[in-house]
Symmetry: C2
Subunit: 254 residues, 2 copies
């Protein structure tokens, strides 16, 4: 039997956002690889080996899984959200390109999942209802200058912006600086959504505006959506406000 | 019982990409609203009314569903892919903002789905593995000048670009013009992925390069992903090539 590596998106939260395709792929695997907290979300199954790793060793983890699959095994790699968005699918492809020819012969299957931006947007209303960007705010893998250039380009052209990896223990100032940078282009009243751990027990969604965004709390489990000048907040009595970006844009909106 | 409107993402294809949350929400609804071909993907259920409409009447459809929910009913609106990405959630929010106060008092729930860009990216490898934009190429709801400005900004800053609504019967030239515009910023060898009807029986995924992209066929069911200068194609013997964008970007990449 030829080896296979399946990279599986677990979605943002519990089983209710796990697709049947992902559920079946998890069941069929002989071995699971992944970042520990993601693996912890997958029920134990007899005879299925589990290889948990830390969150800074994506390349090593990908190589381990590829070697295992190349031995003829059915191997799965789990990823939170969607594996193709700032996650393991790109890391695996990178190792395949750099690795032995046998890795290109493997069956590689990517099973999409609900990414964090879609889950957070759904809770808030429809902030991604018009043209938008998704950016990682981590300057571990790219220079800060490039991040600022992209923030300028996206805000200047009227895109809504979803910010992945806004904050970590070693990156405390980047999010505040990003808000300051975006304030050069966007009105103070631009809606900003903070979505933390959406779909999980400790979920928290906060709606604020760009001028007050630096005061809101964010951590590694948070996704931030910064609106465009078109994005609107609908207040509702006794309910959370709705945030949405209209599908129609006029000529002067960027 | 107070009324509720649930906007449900069906994902790109068959039941294998429908989340349990979406499946349950479909089962609980007293009435379903939606564009005919999306409603056709939902199994008939006794006692559940169905209101199919054409694809150019989003506002009317949203109003009908809101009125129905405001009468105290449990109403669902179905959307292909994710309802928050160029789909019905924004249309519904727009009608809530413009409509009677009672519509703000409704329970509004958005159930996310696997959007087309995630499904197409998964089939191709990991083209959305680094910073990316999603844009609708339809100039029905915004001027073409604004679309070109956004293409310039996104390509100039090194974003991968997912193009929704690339072509329709009444918009035959826009995609070719977009490729020509992007060619001002991007190398001829930039990878381009065409994903048509991914997850359905007539699925077709094609990988090409920007200089040859205008020759590839696209229609209303196609999503197009244009890489950044960093995006790579890995050829594989006897298998479809992998397309991916590395997670690491250097200073000179935009």
């Amino acid at each position: 039997m030829s080896g296979r590596l399946t990279i599986i998106g677990l979605g943002p939260g519990d089983d209710r956002t796990l697709t049947p395709e992902a559920r079946d792929a998890l069941a069929e695997a002989e071995a699971l690889y992944g970042y520990g907290p993601y693996l912890d979300r997958v029920p134990q199954r007899e005879g299925q080996a589990r290889h948990a790793t830390g969150n800074r060793v994506e390349g090593d983890r990908a190589q381990d899984a590829l070697r295992h699959a190349a031995s003829g095994a059915q191997v799965a790699m789990v990823s939170g959200g969607d594996p193709g968005v700032f996650a393991m699918a790109s890391a695996v492809c990178g190792e395949i390109e750099a690795g032995p020819e046998a890795w290109r012969a493997l069956d590689l299957v990517v099973v999409p999942g609900i990414s964090a931006m879609l889950a957070v947007a759904a809770r808030a209303g429809a902030p991604l209802g018009h043209d938008f960007c998704a950016m990682s705010l981590s300057d571990n893998l790219k220079p800060w200058d490039l991040i600022e250039k992209r923030l300028d380009a996206a805000a200047g052209a009227g895109f809504v912006i979803a910010l992945y990896n806004p904050v970590s223990k070693t990156r405390p100032w980047q999010l505040g600086q990003a808000f300051a940078r975006l304030s050069r282009h966007l009105p103070a009243a631009t809606p900003v959504v903070f979505g933390r751990a959406v779909g999980r027990a400790d979920e928290a969604v906060t709606v604020t505006t760009l001028d007050k965004a630096a005061e809101a709390k964010a951590d590694m489990a948070t996704l931030v959506i910064v609106g465009s000048p078109e994005t609107r907040i609908i207040p509702r009595e006794g309910k959370a406000p709705l945030v949405y970006t209209p599908r129609v844009a006029a000529a002067g909106t960027a």
